[in-house]
C-alpha cells in the first residue's frame, strides 16, 4: 500500500473530505487555502482561495457542485466545486469551527466558536440550489445557543430537523434545530473533548473520537454507545471504513508536546480496528506529527489522512485488503 503524498499545504491539516464518488479529495488547512485533488493519482486539481484565516472545516455536497467551508476569519463560504469561485460568504462574530451538509444537500449546519463575549452558536442555513448559487439568503433558518458545554462537532441525522452534536465536555447530544431544544443527550459519551464525528452512509449510526483516547460508535436514534475502541493515545479523528467492518482511528500526542517526544512514542499511526470485535487489526505509519483528520472514500477503495505535519497521505488499498478475511467468512451489515 504505497501512499500518495499530497504536499500542498504549508500548515497543519484541519479536515479532509472525499466527494460522493470518491474521485476528488478536498483538504483544508490552517494556511487558509483549500485544495482539491484527484484521488487516483494525487494530482492537484485546484484551490479555493479567499479565506484569510485558518480553514477549520469543509464539506462537499453529494453532487460535487457546492463546497462549503468555515474559517477562523469568521466567515463561512460557499464555493463552486467546478470553478473554484466563492459564490457566497456569510459573516459571523466568531470563527466557524464546523460545517456540514444535510443528506438532501438543501441545508448547511455550522458551529461558531464561543469567544469574545459571544456564545457558541449553531446555525442552519438553507442553500438555494437554483441558478449559479450566488443568490443565498443571509439569514439562517435556525439559530440557537446550546446551553452548557460548547458544541465542537456536528452533523445532520437521518431524522428530519435533528442534528447531532459533540461537545467539549465529551457530551453527545441531539438538537431539534427548529426549536433549538436538546432532544436527547448522552453526557458520559466521552470523558474528554469530542474531536471528530463521522456518520455511517445511512446516518443511522456515527463514530466519534475523543481526547480521552477512545473512539465510540453511537446509535443515532438513542445515542447509545454501541462499540468502544480504546487506544493509548488521544484521538483526533475516527472514520468508518466502507465495505469492510473496520474503523480508522488517528491521533497522537498533542502538537505542543510533539517536539519533546520521539517518533515512535508519539503514536502517529493510523490504526485500523475491527468495528464489531473492538480489536486492533493493523496500523499504518507515515506521519511525523499527530494525525488530525481521516477520511474514507465512499467507494471504500482508499482512505486519506491529514496530519499536523502538513501532509495528506492517500492510501489506495491493496488487492490483499479486499481479499483478506482475517476473521473467516462473516457477513457484516454496513
Amino acid at each position: 500500500m504505497r501512499p500518495i503524498l499530497l504536499q500542498g499545504h504549508e500548515r497543519s491539516l484541519t479536515q479532509i473530505k472525499f466527494n460522493a464518488e470518491g474521485d476528488l479529495l478536498f483538504s483544508a488547512s490552517k494556511d487558509s487555502v483549500i485544495n482539491v485533488w484527484y484521488t487516483h493519482n494525487g494530482e492537484r486539481l485546484g484551490t479555493y482561495e479567499d479565506h484569510n484565516g485558518a480553514v477549520w472545516t469543509i464539506d462537499v455536497d453529494s453532487q460535487s457542485r457546492f463546497l462549503v467551508s468555515g474559517s477562523a476569519d469568521n466567515t463561512m463560504r460557499l464555493w463552486s466545486v467546478q470553478t473554484g469561485k466563492c459564490l457566497y460568504s456569510w459573516e459571523f462574530p466568531t470563527a466557524v469551527k464546523r460545517v456540514a451538509f444535510s443528506d438532501d444537500d438543501e441545508q448547511v449546519v455550522c458551529i461558531t466558536e464561543q469567544r469574545m463575549g459571544h456564545q457558541g452558536a449553531i446555525r442552519v442555513f438553507k442553500i438555494n440550489r437554483e441558478g449559479d448559487g450566488t443568490d443565498q439568503s443571509e439569514e439562517p433558518i435556525s439559530f440557537f445557543n446550546p446551553i452548557g458545554s460548547k458544541a465542537v462537532v456536528c452533523a445532520f441525522s437521518y431524522v428530519p430537523n435533528l442534528i447531532i452534536t459533540g461537545h467539549e465536555s465529551g457530551k453527545v447530544a441531539l438538537f431539534d434545530y427548529k426549536t433549538g431544544e436538546e432532544v436527547l443527550n448522552n453526557e458520559r459519551a466521552h470523558m474528554d473533548v469530542v474531536t471528530d464525528l463521522q456518520l455511517s452512509p445511512d446516518r443511522t449510526y456515527f463514530i466519534t473520537s475523543s481526547k480521552d483516547k477512545t473512539a465510540r460508535i453511537h446509535d443515532t436514534r438513542t445515542l447509545m454507545v454501541i462499540k468502544t475502541f480504546s487506544t493509548e493515545t488521544p484521538l483526533n479523528s475516527a472514520a468508518l471504513a466502507i465495505g469492510k467492518p473496520y474503523v480508522l482511528l488517528g491521533g497522537g500526542q498533542d502538537a505542543m508536546s510533539v517536539t519533546t517526544t520521539s517518533l515512535r512514542q508519539g503514536k502517529f499511526e493510523t490504526r485500523f480496528w475491527h468495528k464489531i470485535f473492538e480489536e486492533e487489526v493493523g496500523r499504518v505509519k507515515g506521519h511525523f506529527g499527530p494525525v488530525n483528520t481521516i477520511a474514507v472514500s465512499p467507494k471504500g477503495d482508499c482512505y486519506a489522512s491529514g496530519g499536523e505535519d502538513g501532509f495528506v497521505r492517500v492510501h489506495h488499498f491493496d488487492e490483499s485488503y479486499f481479499r483478506a478475511k482475517p476473521y473467516g467468512d462473516i457477513e457484516v451489515e454496513q
Partner: protein
C-alpha cells in the same frame, strides 16, 4: 389532661442521656495492679513487725523500688498470732509495681528466705482457677495446602507475578489459550513483592513487616514483624529469611514479646534473620557500610548483606576491612566462636552447589556412598594495602583451609562471579595502568574442579561492564566498552559496547574467544537458565531498546549430546532474531528457558510502562502497555526431581513426546477457535440485528425504501454480469477446440 401527660413522659424517655452520663461518670479507682504480694518473708510475731517492715523497705529501696512502711500490710494468723509469711505492698503506680517485681523477684532476704513477688491480681486470678483438669480438645487436623501445587499444573505452565498500581496479579503463562490470571489482590503489598528462590513463597512488604503467602488459595502463611522493612533476602533453600530496615529496631514498651518478636537486646540493629517455618527470630545485626567512605557520600548498602552457603548451613557476614563472621544455622552461633580475621576483606561469595554436588550429598546422607561431598567453599578478595598486593583467596569451610591464593597488582576493583554449578570462579579484575589514568580488565578464572585449582587469565583492553556465565555451561559472555563516555553517564548517552563470547577449549584447558559482536549498545546479558540461548539487551536507555536473541549451539539438535566441536570454532553462534521493547528496564527468562519477559517499570520512568513476553527466537508473544506498571517476576521452580537417566530418556524420545503435544495443541486450537468463532458470530449477529432494526426504522422514517442500499445491489448485479461474459467466452473457445 391525661393525654398531655403521656406525651410528656414519652418525650422524657426519648432523650438520650447516655453521652452526658458517660462524660460525668465517676471513675473508680479499680487498679489493684499496683499491689504486689511479697512471699518468702520470715514468719514473725507482732513485736517484730516494725523491724521487719523497715528491713524490707530498705531492701526494696536498695534496688531502686522504694516503698513506705505505711504502704505495707502484714496479714496475721489470728490463731497463732504470727504472721503468715507474706506481706502486701502497695506501690504508687502499676509501673513501679512491675519494676519492683522485675528487680525483687528471687531476691535473697537472708540465708533462709528468698522473696517471690506476684501481682495481687495474679494471685486472685490463679486462686480462682478451676482445679479440675479438663482434657484439652485436640485441635482437628487441618490439611495444609500444598505449597508447590502450581508445579502439578496439568499443562505444565509457569507462573508470574505482576505488580501494577496497587494490584498484584499472579498469572499463568503457557500457550496463548492457557494464559490466565490465577489470582489477583488489591493492596497486596506496600513496597514490592518477591518470590522465594524455589518459588514456594511470595513475600510482600508492609509497614509492620514481611508476610509470606503460598498455596493454591494464596493464604497468608507466615508473618515477620520487622517494622519499616525495606529489603529482604531468602536463603537458597528457603529455610531462612533476612530482612533489613533503614530504621534501627526500636522495641517500644509494652511491645509483644516472644520468640517471634524483637526483644530489647535487638534495639538499634537493622538486619534480622528469621526461620521461615516457625516464624521465629534467630538473630539481629546492625547494618555495616563499607568503611573509608566519607560521610557526605551516600552510603551504599551491600545487599544481600548476609551471604548464605548454598546448603543453608552457614551464613557469612563481612565486616569490611576486618573479618568474615560465619554463623551456623539454625542456632545462629558464630562457628568455632571466632570470626575469620582478614585484613582489608571486601567481598565474599560462597561457591554454589552443582547438581553433581547435590546428588553426592544426597547419596552420602542416605549412606549409599562413603565419598564425602565437597566441603563448602568461599572466595574473597582483599585490595592492595601498603606493600601487600591484592589477593583473591579460595577458602574451604568449616575446615578453614586455604585452597588457592592469587596475588594481583594494580587492582582498583574486583568482582567475583561463580558459575552456577560451582565449576569455575571468574574474578573480574579492573586494573589501572601505572599512571592510573585508564582502566582495563583481566578475567582470572579459577578452575575449581581441577587439581590444584589452576587459574586461567583472559586479558582485555577494554573495560568490562557486564559479565555472565552460561548456566551449567563452560561459556561466558562479556560486555566491554571503550566508549569515552564511560564513567560519566548523562541523559541521552547510550554507551557503545562490544559483546564477546568465550568458551573453554577442552583439550588445552583455556578460555578462548568464540565470537565478538562489535558496535552494539547492549549492556545486559541474560542467559537462558538452561544455557545455550542468550539475550543481549539494551536496557535503561532512552534512545535504544534493542533485544538480540542468540543461539550458541545452532547446529546441534535437541538430542542433548553436546558433541565435540567438529565444526569450526564459534560457527555455532547464530543470531535468531531481534526485538524491540521501547524503554525496557528489565529482562528476565522464565525458569524453563523458553520465554523471555521484558518490562518497563514505573519505578524507573513513566513512558510506556508495561511488559512483553517473547519466545526464545525473539517473536513477541504478548505485549501489555499498562500505566503504573512496576514489577514483573517469574515464579522460580525448584530443581527437577527427575534423575539423570529419566531426563536422558525424555530427550531421546523427544519426538514421541512432541507428537503427543502437537496433537494436544491441534485439539486445543480447534476447540478455542470454535469458541472464538461462536463468540464472534454472536457479536456479528447482534450487530446485524441492530442494523436491520435501524434500517427498518429508517424505512418507516422516510416512508421509502432506503436509497443507500440500492447502489450496493446494483454493484452486485454488475459483478454477476461480468461473470456471464466470462462464461460466454469460454464457450466460444470450446467450440473452436471441437
Amino acid at each position: 389532661m391525661a393525654p398531655n401527660v403521656i406525651a410528656h413522659d414519652d418525650l422524657e424517655d426519648d432523650i438520650d442521656y447516655s453521652d452526658i452520663e458517660a462524660k460525668y461518670q465517676v471513675e473508680y479507682d479499680e487498679g489493684l495492679d499496683n499491689v504486689v504480694v511479697v512471699d518468702g518473708v520470715p514468719v514473725i510475731d507482732e513485736s517484730k513487725a516494725e523491724k521487719l517492715l523497715a528491713r524490707v523497705a530498705k531492701e526494696f529501696s536498695k534496688k531502686g523500688a522504694p516503698v513506705k512502711v505505711d504502704n505495707m500490710i502484714i496479714p496475721w494468723d489470728e490463731k497463732t498470732g504470727k504472721s503468715r509469711g507474706f506481706i502486701v505492698v502497695e506501690f504508687k503506680s502499676p509501673e513501679d509495681a512491675a519494676y519492683a517485681i522485675g528487680v525483687m523477684h528471687g531476691h535473697p532476704f537472708d540465708s533462709k528466705h528468698r522473696f517471690s513477688l506476684n501481682r495481687f491480681t495474679d494471685i486472685e486470678r490463679y486462686a480462682n482457677l478451676d482445679e479440675t483438669y479438663v482434657e484439652p480438645e485436640p485441635e482437628p487436623y487441618v490439611q495444609k495446602e500444598h505449597l508447590r501445587s502450581w508445579l502439578a499444573d496439568p499443562q505444565g505452565r509457569d507462573q508470574y507475578a505482576t505488580y501494577r498500581g496497587d494490584e498484584v496479579e499472579i498469572h499463568w503463562h503457557g500457550k496463548p489459550s492457557q494464559c490466565e490470571v490465577a489470582h489477583n489482590r488489591l493492596n497486596w503489598t506496600d513496597l514490592y513483592v518477591s518470590w522465594s528462590p524455589l518459588g514456594t513463597y511470595l513475600a510482600s512488604l508492609h509497614r509492620p513487616g514481611v508476610r509470606l503467602w503460598g498455596g493454591a488459595s494464596w493464604s497468608g502463611l507466615q508473618r515477620f514483624a520487622h517494622p519499616l522493612v525495606r529489603l529482604l533476602d531468602f536463603s537458597p533453600n528457603e529455610n531462612y529469611l533476612v530482612t533489613w530496615s533503614h530504621d534501627p529496631i526500636v522495641v517500644p514498651e509494652g511491645a509483644q514479646q516472644g520468640p517471634q518478636f524483637f526483644s530489647p537486646e535487638d534495639e538499634g540493629n537493622n538486619i534480622a534473620v528469621w526461620d521461615i517455618k516457625t516464624g521465629n527470630l534467630l538473630r539481629t545485626f546492625p547494618s555495616v557500610y563499607p568503611e573509608g567512605e566519607d560521610a557526605s557520600k551516600k552510603q551504599q548498602l551491600q545487599w544481600p548483606a548476609l551471604k548464605w552457603s548454598p546448603d543453608d548451613k552457614y551464613v557469612a557476614r563481612v565486616t569490611p576491612g576486618q573479618q568474615i563472621s560465619v554463623y551456623e544455622l539454625p542456632s545462629m552461633g558464630l562457628v568455632d566462636k571466632k570470626s575469620i580475621k582478614i585484613e582489608g576483606v571486601i567481598d565474599v561469595e560462597w561457591c554454589p552447589l552443582g547438581d553433581k554436588d547435590k546428588e553426592e550429598e544426597a547419596k552420602f546422607a542416605a549412606g549409599k556412598s562413603n565419598k564425602k561431598p565437597r566441603e563448602n567453599m568461599l572466595a574473597y578478595w582483599t585490595p592492595e594495602v601498603a606493600n601487600q598486593p591484592a589477593r583473591v583467596t579460595l577458602l574451604q569451610f568449616p575446615s578453614r583451609t586455604i585452597l588457592r591464593q592469587k596475588n594481583l597488582f594494580n587492582v582498583s576493583e574486583c568482582k567475583l562471579y561463580w558459575q552456577n554449578q560451582g565449576d569455575f570462579l571468574c574474578v573480574k579484575v579492573d586494573r589501572h595502568t601505572k599512571t592510573k589514568k585508564s582502566i582495563f580488565c583481566n578475567l582470572e578464572i579459577f578452575m575449581v574442579r581441577e587439581k590444584d585449582y589452576p587459574v586461567e587469565v583472559v586479558e582485555l583492553k577494554d573495560t568490562v561492564t557486564d559479565f555472565s556465565w552460561e548456566p551449567k555451561g563452560e561459556r561466558f559472555a562479556i560486555v566491554s566498552t571503550s566508549d569515552p563516555n564511560f564513567g560519566n553517564p548523562g541523559p541521552g548517552i547510550t554507551l557503545k559496547t562490544d559483546v564477546s563470547f568465550y568458551a573453554l577449549e577442552r583439550g588445552k584447558g583455556d578460555f578462548k574467544l568464540l565470537r565478538s559482536l562489535p558496535n552494539r549498545t547492549s549492556n545486559t546479558i541474560r542467559w537462558s537458565p538452561k544455557g545455550r540461548h542468550v539475550v543481549l539487551a539494551t536496557v535503561g536507555s532512552t534512545t535504544k531498546s534493542e533485544l538480540e536473541f542468540w543461539d550458541l549451539d545452532f547446529h546441534h539438535d535437541d538430542t542433548g549430546k553436546r558433541e565435540a566441536h567438529k565444526d569450526e570454532w564459534g560457527s555455532g553462534i547464530q543470531h535468531l532474531g531481534t526485538g524491540d521493547h521501547y524503554a525496557v528496564t528489565d529482562a528476565e527468562w522464565d525458569p524453563s528457558g523458553r520465554y523471555l519477559a521484558t518490562s518497563a517499570s514505573a519505578w524507573r520512568h513513566t513512558i510506556e510502562n508495561g511488559y512483553a513476553i517473547w519466545d526464545f527466537r525473539g517473536q513477541e508473544l504478548e505485549k501489555h502497555i499498562l500505566d503504573r506498571f512496576k514489577q514483573f517476576l517469574w515464579r522460580p521452580r525448584p530443581r527437577t526431581l527427575l534423575t539423570k537417566e529419566q531426563q536422558r530418556h525424555i530427550r531421546r524420545n523427544l519426538k514421541e513426546y512432541s507428537r503427543q503435544f502437537d496433537e494436544e495443541d491441534a485439539a486445543e486450537e480447534s476447540n478455542i477457535s470454535a469458541e472464538l468463532i461462536a463468540q464472534r458470530k454472536r457479536l456479528v449477529d447482534e450487530w446485524n440485528a441492530w442494523r436491520l432494526h435501524c434500517k427498518e426504522e429508517l424505512g418507516t422514517e422516510r416512508g421509502v425504501v432506503k436509497k443507500l442500499k440500492e447502489p450496493q445491489e446494483e454493484e452486485e448485479e454488475k459483478e454477476e454480469i461480468e461473470v456471464w461474459i466470462d462464461e460466454v467466452i469460454e464457450q466460444i473457445e470450446e467450440e473452436l477446440l471441437e
